[in-house]
């Protein structure tokens, strides 16, 4: 919802040029995300919700990792790690951990999934975990 509200506020500055109007909000859900609100069904429902609320049916809220209209196959966390490695993105600087401490714990569900993804991708995990 806030992503959409941000998009509407950005559109304030555009003057009649539809090419620059923001009507797409991307999230980064991946196939292995376990929550019901991380599914493609949820994203589709949110898209309808937004279109109906704003009375503009060109809005699209989706994740390029799981939307079959954007990619022929789903892009999992391991593929993302591999892609980042190949494109020299310092992925060890990203934050996955749920804890409030500076160092990532390495133990929470999110850290575990992160570790598994590195392992599956065959990429050395340079993240500094506290455990």
């Amino acid at each position: 919802m806030i992503g959409v509200q941000y998009a509407v506020s950005l559109n304030k500055n555009f003057r009649g040029n539809n090419r620059t109007k923001v009507t797409t909000v991307f999230c980064a859900q991946v196939p292995g995300d376990p929550f019901p609100h991380s599914s493609l069904t949820s994203l589709r429902t949110t898209t309808i919700d937004v279109c109906q609320n704003l009375e503009e049916w060109d809005w699209q809220i989706t994740s390029p990792n799981i939307d079959q209209y954007l990619s022929s196959k789903k892009i999992g966390k391991a593929e993302i790690v591999k892609w980042a490695y190949e494109h020299k993105i310092p992925i060890e600087k990203t934050r996955s951990c749920y804890s409030s401490k500076k160092a990532q714990c390495g133990n929470c569900l999110s850290c575990q999934r992160r570790k598994e993804a590195f392992q599956k991708a065959g990429v050395i995990d340079k993240t500094k975990y506290s455990i």
Partner: protein, 268 residues
């Protein structure tokens, strides 16, 4: 949808074909659209306005529900005055229905965030309202439901708003409520959740209710409408000229009643 002679029903997005499709998904998944929550706990989003202040009375009489009122301080200009009205009616109904009105809950959430209130359309607020406003309010209510279950063991599956049939924004119609209902069911994984307005839900008899119907209801049950706050402006006294005040005045006129609030132009 029935029309009232003095109130043009103009909700452009109440699309019957789309409503049917959304309702088919809910029916496919759980077999019903809305079951009245007789003697259950419900959350009511209340603002101190005319509609929600009357709805408290209506749902308690009709369903004998236990109402958990939720007031969201959403950083609107009129929020302090809405809160004062909300407090008045909590006190009023705690005396009238001591067993049904539960402890109110207030939470401060900017909806929309103040920094994002910038719109290209100069008539955004009069035609469309704030983007995703009601959906965001209803999402907070769903989060409050989860908190009530976690902290007090109260199982809430019904979240009520007070959308009336003369509301004109796209986010204030049955279609918007059904879509939001669907979104909350999917997001929570709980298909028993129901988000609706008891004033317009087509699963209930004699609906929809218009604001003028609530005015007559309030008269019948002696609800002091002069204590409600409809005006969206930031002054203590309603100015009588904003869209909400005008809608209220039209509703009083169509009910054949005088608004008990004294407006500035009447003083002059």
């Amino acid at each position: 949808m029935k029309r009232h002679p003095l109130q043009i029903y103009n909700n452009r997005e109440e699309d019957p074909a789309l409503l049917k499709k959304i309702e088919e998904i809910l029916l496919y998944r759980r077999g019903y659209l809305f079951n009245p929550p007789f003697k259950e706990d419900v959350i009511l989003l209340a603002s101190g306005g005319l509609d929600s202040s009357v709805t408290i009375d209506l749902i308690i009489r009709e369903w004998n529900v236990r109402v958990h009122p939720l007031f969201i301080k959403r950083s609107a200009r009129a929020t302090p005055f809405e809160e004062k009205a909300f407090d008045y009616f909590i006190n009023f109904y705690q005396k009238r229905f001591p067993n049904n009105l539960k402890k109110p809950y207030k939470i401060e959430v900017e909806i929309p965030p103040v920094k994002l209130k910038q719109y290209k359309r100069t008539n955004q607020l009069s035609v469309l309202g704030h983007p995703m406003r009601n959906a965001a309010l209803q999402n907070v209510a769903a989060q409050y439901a989860a908190k009530l279950e976690a902290t007090k063991g109260i199982n809430i599956k019904t979240i009520l708003t007070s959308t009336v049939a003369d509301d004109s924004f796209p986010h204030s119609c049955l279609l918007a409520l059904r879509v939001e209902n669907l979104a909350i069911c999917i997001d929570t994984g709980n298909w028993k959740m129901q988000i609706t307005s008891p004033l317009i839900d087509n699963q209930l008899p004699d609906r929809p209710y218009f604001k003028k119907d609530l005015i007559l209801y309030a008269e019948k049950y002696k609800i002091p409408l002069e204590k409600t706050r409809s005006c969206i402006e930031g002054a203590p006294n309603p100015d009588g000229t904003c869209n909400e005040c005008l809608g209220r005045l039209r509703a009083f006129a169509s009910a054949g009643r005088q608004d008990p609030i004294i407006y500035p132009y009447q003083i002059k």
